[in-house]
Amino acid sequence: MNDNQFGELITGTGSTESLELLKAALDSSVSGIIITDNRLPDNPIVYCNASFERISGYSRPEIIGHNCRFLQARDRKQPERQMLKEAIVEGKTVNVEIRNYTKDGTLFWNELYVSPIKNAEGQVTHFVGVQHDVTRRKNAEHTLRNERELIEQTVKQRTLSLEQTREYLESIIQTVRESLLVLDAEFRVMTANQHFLKTFKVDRSETIGQNLFNLGNGQWDIDRLKELLNDILPTNNPVLDFEVEHDFPHIGRKLMLLNAYRIELEGEFKDRILLSIEDITERRAIEVRKDDFLSVASHELKTPLTTVKGYVQVINHMLSEQSGDKLKEIVGKTSTQIDRLNKLIAELLDVSKIQSGNLEIHRDVFDFDKMVKEVIENIQSVSPNHTIKLSGATNVTYSGDESQLTQVISNLLSNAIKYSPDHQEISVYLSVISGYLKFSVSDQGLGINQNDQAKIFERFYRVSNIQKKYPGMGIGLYVCEQIIKQHKGDLWVDSEENKGSTFSFTLPLLNDESK
């Protein structure tokens, strides 16, 4: 379409048929089309097609002769209006998306193309405006932008909350009074907490990013640690209470208890290794000092006791040639109490050693049945009111700590007698059951109720109703159980109140050591 044809269209010249065709063509367009006359004041609309009527809601008589600005209603401050104005003044093409309003005031987004039409002299005579209602697209864009903003907002919040969580966890790690390291799969230090830096007197900058074994001139290049990380952790995750002793160049010998955990969860942290290091140097030293102190104390207590016991035996010896039953009885009781004191001193040391894990068993082969018989004889000789009956036999040469097991049996027999004052018979039964030797001692005494049965093996526990009548510290059974445990055996009780108790223990017969 050239300028002339447009001229004809506007002025109504040209063939009626072609005009009608053109009109029909423009009316069938989905785009709203207007033509303004730039030569008339205020650039009025001189043509609009049917789609423009449909988009704007105005009818042709309400449109023709008006300037286009009525479409923006009162929404006058849009920057696009300035762009339109400038393009029209300069006679240029412009393309804007502008908020327009239909006759009933409904907002619609108008994607507007405006292009000038020039005459032969190059003057702009008309402008053609082509309009599309892009409200739906605009709304979709708007929704999309809103959603993006919402997502950005959420991401920001999540990041903040993650940051806070991270800082929170980090502060826990830094505050905890135990050394913690995080290593990557190549054993490079990713994190070292404050306690680690303090304990091992190192700087954060010389630690982070370094391979563990290269840290501080290789002071962590410890064989046992390599064994833990290279050999044990890959197949035994996590590793707990792994003891490592090492002499560090500056801080001296350290005894450390390590927990190691390799992250197996798929993702960012996979194969990272958490290493928690507890410095037990001091604790172990205190335990040893405590045991040493108790050893010295018990030795020192036993020395005067030895003298007293000696003299009491001398007195007893002298007495035997004279009469005086009362005196004999008193000396006898003195002897009993001296033996009790001696036993208490020994038990005290045992408990201390068990607690610090220093109770050692010295295994040696011995005739188990013979040992039991000897203990029975000893106990029988000082318990004239009871009869200890032995039945069964193990016929085993057992490999274990004879003096400790003697202590256990002696303790169990003494208890049986002590807690069955009115029943004379104590029976001991020996047997071998599928690889275990079994020792049982039964009395028909006071018995132990269900509640107390669970607790009698605890340290310092005494069954309440017998506490006053029967003296003791409540450590005998605790020591017994620990000794049996050390021998990989089991000690238990079957009992019914007022009917009696049976204490039994089993010990595994190791093939190569016991036979």
């Binding site: 018990s298 030795h299 036993k302 005067p304 030895t306 000696g310 003299y311 001696n342 010295h362």
Partner: protein, 121 residues
Amino acid sequence: MDKKKILICDDDAGIVDMAQLILEMNDFEAIGETNSLKLYDRIKTEHPDLIIIDLWMPVLSGDQILKRLKSDEHFKSIPVMAISASNDGYQIAMQAGANRFISKPFEMDEFVKAAHEMVAH
């Protein structure tokens, strides 16, 4: 027959006194020494038939003396009974070469019986 002579060495005078009394009551000649540093000289001058020695003594311990005695051609034949209130006394005594170990506090009968047996050899 002459009484057998037993030399008892313990840093605790109470134990030495008591042991001497018991041994004398049982027809031994008992002499005591509380300073372990002087024990070696006492052995040289007294020529005891049996030495009873405490393990845990200050400055020079019983097991040190024992080891020296048992590596000395002149004295290694003298029987030595070690006595101790220490829990690991038996192991220490045996390692040092004692002929017998009795833990403190001891039973008088056991103690006397052991003394008789040891001098008889």
